[in-house]
Amino acid sequence: MTVEKNSQRILSYTRDVMAGYPREQRFTLAMLQDIQKKYKYIPRESLEQLSDHLGVPLSKLYSIATFYKALSLQPKGDHVIRVCDGTACHIRSSMVIVDELAKILMIKPGETTSDGKFSLETVNCLGSCAMAPAMVIDETYYGKVTPSRTREILNEYGGVDCE
């Protein structure tokens, strides 16, 4: 079954990650970050496996995974849209951009579209204040974004089908 296969792949990748670090609690965050990078979230299997490996209770790992913003327990869409809501962007109307994207994608920040194509997030500061308001899709930066440009930018990623 594909689900089983997928699960096995996750377990085997998690094993590889664990092998890359000494078996000490202080590397927990680093291991979780590696898993997050690969899958864009932390699968439950990984968390359980890590708990066994490090001898740290699952509840502790769960609290770490929910405490740090860089980690997520929910799978993300194919393209992750991060709108900067740092102060410089905020006073240059970043929330208007968020509202506009939310309207087009029909999701709230923190959610993923039903077709799994886009996730919408806000971030605290991208350090790109000269191009405020800024947003990043996957690794590509967009500066001086206006509400009217948002749809155009989404079209570069195949646009939105659910309209």
């Binding site: 609690q25 770490i64 740090y68 980690l71 809501d85 102060t87 006073i91 000269a130 405020a132 206006t146």
Partner: protein, 602 residues
């Protein structure tokens, strides 16, 4: 190389985050390709390098050429061939790419002559923009690691600490604790191992100086840490870097490896018998981890919650051992203090805030970017002379300093001299040096709400005053911004502020009320307009804002119509336009684009 007797020329392409986002890497590759293709036909032996951030992000990408001392701004990929043909092959300056002073219309060949750079004094940023951060020899060529040698072979641990004490250097991360005193206290505990930490978890929105140093001059941090480690007898260091800063992590890791190869780190450094190594820990995107005890807890692999500081970290820090934690910018100052002496350093800046400070000027300011100036500079000089004033000819309203823990400073205090103590006295704080400039289109109630929203999300939840107090204040501010503010809300906010700042466990909670306290103190009128008159004077809070077009001023240019994403503007060219309130989403695009001040707020 056989042709090494040819004169040399180096092209420095800025690859700081701002320039990278504007495709500076393409410019670099294209220039490199042209130079490689031309080979020895070029009369001058030409090198090309990528550098860290030059600071003037607003006018990037920046290309500098030495020793000709030419700086080109806003370079596009399409300019590359001309730069190669004219400047590289013939030594000609391309006038239109030089810095343009918008007031005088003058252009400057050297970047050092323009207002943005000429008032600066670079110590922490001394190498950034001049060296390739990936090349340790660039750093060494500019005197890098000489201070480490001086410390190891000509100074005692006591005399090193004495120099830092004498310099008067105070921590650049925010609170401004005297660095020398911290080291001295830690050196006093006869308990080993000791740890030396670098706080690179830069979380203040609008501040990016630490990122710039880690990306553009990582060796200056490593050298500073190694000097401190020698003075304390520590053998292990950690650099805690925000995970979002991928390039900073990469450049720091690379620099640590290069420093090890060159024997500036590792076992028996330069044959001195002293061992010191640095490991990188990537942060997890939690603002509170910039707090010292939370950061240490995070390095230990736990949830990054702060602890009460009955016992300070210099005595019991990481894994319960004596620990010195300093911020990135603080570390970058150390090699210069050792090289030139504490006395020299203390002669710069203000009496109780010595040296220079890096500020990031952002928001509604013309020259967004990073600047380093002596402490004690007047806010007005920083914002208007260096920063070029407010964008779009609007009026200055306030400047926010110190990040989410700081406060807003109004126009009446523009002549304030910026140092640790004067900012605290004005109700704000130095913080990491972010300066967010606000104009008449910024709503101060919304700004206070913005910071509380940020802090409500980032509060770790361990202590009640911070967890519940911030949330409750946010609810009140949300209702004020939605037009549901009540008489008495201001007093209630002030009361909660007092409790939260008094009773919270760590600095995050203790300083969380600052944005509310200062905006109420300096901008109470705006709060009252929201609560009593149900108006948002800046036109930011959607529920309280109605835009309309004044027929007196409207020229019918159609810019508002063109920029309206909701199709709410209608009108014929050259005649009065109007806004359909039912369709208007209140994004403010019309008002921001109108050149005739015809769009108004009711």
């Amino acid at each position: 190389m056989s042709e090494s007797n040819r004169p040399k020329r180096t092209i420095l392409v800025c690859c700081g985050t701002g320039c990278l986002a504007n495709h500076s890497l393409k410019i670099y590759h294209k220039l490199k390709e042209l130079i490689t293709k031309a080979g020895v036909d070029v009369a001058v032996e030409t090198y090309i390098k990528t550098t860290g951030c030059n600071g003037l992000c607003e006018k990037g990408p920046i290309v500098k050429i030495t020793p000709d001392d030419i700086a080109y701004f806003k370079v596009k990929e399409s300019d590359v061939e001309e730069i190669f043909e004219k400047t590289i092959l013939q030594g000609e300056v391309i006038n239109r790419l030089l810095y343009l002073d918008s007031v005088t219309g003058k252009r400057f060949k050297s970047h050092k002559e323009n207002d943005f750079y000429k008032r600066q004094m670079k110590i922490a940023l001394r190498n950034i923009g001049e060296i390739d951060p990936a090349d340790i020899f660039d750093y060494i060529e500019r005197g890098g690691y000489e201070s480490l040698k001086k410390a190891l072979f000509t100074m005692t641990p006591e005399s090193i600490i004495e120099e830092v004490v004498k310099s008067g250097l105070r921590g650049r991360g925010g609170a401004g604790f005297p660095t020398g005193r911290k080291w001295k206290q830690c050196a006093g505990y006869n308990n080993y191992p000791k740890y030396v930490l670098c706080n690179g978890d830069e979380g203040d929105p609008g501040a990016f100086m630490d990122r710039s140093i880690m990306e553009g001059d990582p060796h200056s941090i490593i050298e500073g840490m190694a000097i401190c480690a020698y003075a304390l007898g520590s053998n292990t260091g950690f650099a805690y870097i925000r995970d979002e800063y991928a390039l900073a992590v990469k450049n720091m890791s690379n620099a640590i490896n290069k420093a090890k190869e060159a024997k500036f780190l590792g076992e028996n450094i330069l044959g001195s018998g002293f061992n010191f190594d640095i490991q990188i820990v990537r942060g997890g995107g939690a603002f509170v981890c910039g707090e010292s005890t939370a950061l240490m807890s995070s390095i230990e692999g736990k949830v990054g919650e702060p602890r009460a500081k009955y016992i300070r970290s210099v005595e019991k820090g990481l894994w319960g051992q004596p620990t010195v934690l300093n911020n990135v910018e603080t570390w970058a100052n150390i090699p210069v203090i050792i090289e030139k002496g504490g006395e020299w350093y203390s002669g710069i800046g203000a009496p109780k805030s010595t040296g220079t400070k890096v500020f990031s000027l952002v928001g509604k300011i013309r020259n967004t970017g990073l600047v380093e100036v002596p402490m004690g500079i007047a806010l007005r000089e920083l914002i208007f002379d260096i920063g070029g004033g407010i964008t779009a000819g609007r009026k200055f309203k306030a400047v926010q300093t110190g990040g989410p823990s700081g406060g807003c400073i109004p126009e009446s205090l523009l002549d304030l001299n910026v140092d640790f103590d004067s900012l605290t006295k004005a109700g704000s704080m130095m913080g990491s040096g972010g300066m967010i400039v606000m104009d008449e289109r910024t709503c101060m109630v919304d700004v206070a709400r913005y910071y509380l929203n940020f802090l409500a999300e980032e509060s770790c939840g361990k202590c009640l005053p911070c967890r519940e107090g911030i949330k409750r204040m946010l609810e009140i501010l949300n209702s004020i911004c939605a037009g549901k503010g009540l008489a008495g809300d201001i007093e209630l906010l002030q009361e909660i502020c007092a409790t939260v700042s008094e009773a919270s466990l760590c600095a995050l909670g203790k300083s969380a009320p600052n944005p509310v306290v200062t905006t109420i103190h300096y901008f109470e009128d705006e709060y009252l307009a929201h609560i009593r008159d149900k108006r948002c004077p800046a036109g930011v809070c959607k529920e309280l804002t109605t835009y309309y077009i004044d027929p007196e001023n409207c020229k019918g240019c159609g810019l508002c119509l063109k920029n309206c994403p909701a199709g709410a503007v209608s009108g014929q060219p050259k005649s009065w336009h109007s806004i359909d309130q039912k369709l208007c989403i209140k994004c403010g695009n019309c008002i921001d684009n109108c050149k005739f001040h015809a769009v108004k707020i009711r």
